[in-house]
Amino acid sequence: MADDVLFDHALRLGDDALVMGQRLSEWCGHAPMLEVDLALANIALDLLGQATHFLNLAGEIEGKGRDADALAFHRDVLDFRNCLLVEQPNGDFAQTIARQFLFSNWQELLMREIAAAPEPRLAAIGAKAVKEIAYHAKFASEWVVRLGDGTAESRTRMIAGLEWMWRFVDELFDPMDGAPSRRGEWDARINRTLTEAGLELPKPRRGAMGGRAGHHSEHLGHLLTEMQFLQRAYPGATW
């Protein structure tokens, strides 16, 4: 892989994990039950760890002296390479679960390939991450079933959560990642869980794209404003 392609690849992986982790960390202290609060924090911590590894690697490949922090805290929206799905707001618990369900099931398939890829540095991070993500996917899938099957209210909310997120699915299978091959297995997984939950697959729609090229939703700018505040307000300081 050429360095610039590899850099971009590591950046996409790192930004996905970073933005998803940042979103999940917003739940800390506010979840429906203490046990769930701890679970969401664990997932967020896994993702922050992955982000740190992938972004450090991106910086190393780039060779301009930028590390994970420089990349996370000193880029603007146009330079972020995460998919649109992960930057979507938490909404209610069902919306958060819908996002996690779609993302983790995809990320697990992707990370399995990366763990087996010839690039050793990516593969090493992927091998560690894949176990974490398998748990995230399981956790989210089980909650989709609980909420889909639970009460009339939880079913309505679960459907609404999936409806919100569904337009961001196609982007995950952008040919840029060499990913269309993953779609079949992902569809099968999603279908299996939705069937168990008594839910229908959301209707196909025109996918929203652009995250991988830096063209994000309005939400990312606000997320970065908050996340980067200290680094922006006190340039050059160490923490």
Binding site: L18, H30, L34, L48, R146, L230
Partner: protein
Amino acid sequence: MYTTELKDKDQKAAAVSLADEDPEKLAAFEARVAADDFIEPKDWMPEAYRKTLVRQISQHAHSEIVGMLPEGNWITRAPNLRRKAILLAKVQDEGGHGLYLYAAAETLGTSREEMIDALHSGKAKYSTIFNYPTLTWADIGAIGWLVDGAAIMNQVPLQRTSYGPYARAMVRICKEESFHQRQGYEIMSVLAAGTAEQKRMAQDALNRWWWPSLMMFGPPDDKSPNTAQSVRWRIKRETNDELRQRFVDVTVPQAEAIGLRVPDPALTWNDERGSYDFGAIDWEEFYAVVRGEGPVAKERTQARVKAWEDGAWVREAAVAHASKRALKMAAE
């Protein structure tokens, strides 16, 4: 993190009922406690002991849970990835500690839901310290260093408290807390050695958190009539003033080591006592905060109630799904 033992309306009633206990059982109980034996959930215990414990353990649990909010306020704004992960792990620990403590209190026959209801209705108290706002990143350092530091002073002796489940929860909590104070002090020392703006931030945080931290140990001994019985029952192992003095003695040199000034003009080393003398605490402020008049008390309660109410449909859905699944399994 921890709570001072705060009084509520139940307390007087509890003290009175001790006279109604079977004197023989009471004497045997007191003897066991005096012999450093542990009391376990199914053992006989005086009602006053049970009530005092439920109140103290649930206050402690509430403090952990409410304590997630001031620090949680900075998770999304932590200055780098390392600090973000540390802070998230730390606040998550506080949630875990609340969970262990609720579970310990549940062994005494009060459900977590009942305790949470008491918190939300304002009937149950939590540590006054969490009703102060976190304004800058340095406040995260100050909380770890001072608030967790004060908590450790109180919690270490509670590992040998007389009620088994409480003591075991405290052992786990103390083990996990060991990094909390260090990470806070590290934040403060980096800021104190940083730019002029960072140093100002650090000193300002110390100025604001110092006195509320001293108040965390609770009212002075002569205003804390319950201490004697609690010490006898090993629900409490040392008095408020003893712990407060120890905290001052270990913390002042830590401030000096990183070039910060403790905001107390009366602070002087007393050679004779081998301790620091320190200025008078504003107890009026303390009692006002206990009454719920702390600067962000409203926000804290509101956030807890909102999380609980917003989560109600989730908790219901999970129960509904579990019973549907159980029915289906039974039919198969």
